[in-house]
């Protein structure tokens, strides 16, 4: 089965991973800008990172028949530095016309602080001004519920935000329904340890339905598994779910969501 990984950090992965993903049926991916594992010192670091995301990475993916898209922002962790964040936000429009840019992301909260929320709101303004879609990171572990509610508060309070053009990522059992009920798209991130497993993601699909629900691997520099989406495909097959339902979650849904972005010009492999 062909699939699309809507949230994977390929700058942290090797070219061998591209090959493995292609062999497993991955034909498209979107890569949100995120934290590099250390705080970057200047806006120039981000400019280089955005060049990597918009120029180098799509070429590397194309060698394996994978269509690569991206999202730009300063992530929630570095957003604690308000001054640097504002410089990055000012620079982002330089890249919004690049052919693989789908929108602003992954913005969000990390420790749910005032500075993070301030920069989240400023990213929202940027997205509105440039008519961009938004991809959102919700915090992990004990901070997830509180942070997700705060993010929903900020989105809902602004009538210019169209929920159907916003993806709220890393939802789990206690946050998925609230995100979906408000009309947003929701993404589940499959991690081998501590976070959502393929089994639990299949449970959430069974409980919430497959409408506006996506699944991704995150595949970053930490312990993560870039081939986690095929793990979910297998789990759903083993439970007896239809191929049509599985395909909706791993292929049709991401394409439907991304199609709202002016730069999305995906060619189906068949």
């Amino acid at each position: 089965m062909y699939y699309f990984d809507p949230h994977i950090h390929m700058v942290s992965r090797t070219t061998d991973d591209y090959e493995t993903l292609a062999k497993m049926g991955c034909v498209g991916m979107s890569e949100p800008a995120f934290w590099a594992g250390f705080d970057r010192g200047s806006v120039e670091s981000f400019r280089d990172y955005f060049r990597q995301l918009t120029d180098f990475e799509p070429k590397r993916a194309a060698q394996y028949g994978i269509q690569h898209y991206t999202w730009l922002c300063i992530n929630a962790k570095e957003a604690e530095n308000v001054e640097l964040s504002r410089e990055v936000i000012k620079m982002i429009p330089e890249f919004l016309e690049k052919p693989n840019v789908l929108g602003i992301g992954e913005i969000g909260l990390n420790k749910n602080t005032k500075n993070e929320a301030t920069i989240f709101l400023e990213h929202m303004e940027l997205a509105i001004e440039y008519n961009q879609q938004i991809l959102i990171h919700t915090p992990h572990l004990a901070d997830k519920y509180q942070g997700t509610r705060m993010i929903l508060d900020m989105l809902i309070a602004d009538s210019r935000i169209e929920p159907s053009r916003v993806l709220v990522d890393h939802v789990e059992e206690h946050t998925a329904k609230q995100v979906l009920d408000q009309g947003f798209w929701a993404g589940m991130t499959l991690y081998p340890v501590t976070k959502c497993t393929p089994q639990r993601a299949a449970d959430i699909i069974e409980m919430c339905g497959a409408e506006r629900l996506l699944v991704n691997s995150a595949g970053d520099w930490g312990p993560s598994k870039p081939t986690a989406v095929p793990d979910l495909i297998l789990e759903m097959r083993r439970r007896g779910h239809s191929e049509a339902l599985i395909r909706k979650v791993v292929y049709d849904n991401p394409i439907e969501f991304f199609s709202q972005s002016q730069n999305f010009s995906f060619t189906h492999p068949e």
Partner: protein, 85 residues
């Protein structure tokens, strides 16, 4: 939408896995007891025992959802006033 498997099939499929997870949990608790010192006043121990209780109780909400909320920080809806943004 529901799970296409019936409960007997789920049990057949997951019994050994559940058994294995309970043994892991038991061994972790044993390890805590064997180690030097005392953590009974640590709030995390209280959360762990509340979590274990949830597993055996009947409730309207899912057990996974309840466990997630148990281990979550509290959300206050006036946070924007507190932050003044």
């Amino acid at each position: 939408m529901s799970i296409p498997l019936n409960s007997q099939q789920v049990l057949d499929r997951e019994y050994l896995e559940i058994r294995g997870k309970i043994v892991e949990l038991a061994a972790s608790l044993d390890r805590l007891e064997r180690a030097e010192g005392c953590v009974s006043d640590d709030n995390r121990m209280k959360l762990i025992s509340q979590g274990l209780q949830i597993l055996l109780e009947q409730a309207d909400q899912t057990k996974a959802g309840q466990i997630q909320m148990l281990f979550s920080r509290v959300y206050e809806d006036n946070w924007r006033n507190q932050f003044d943004i």
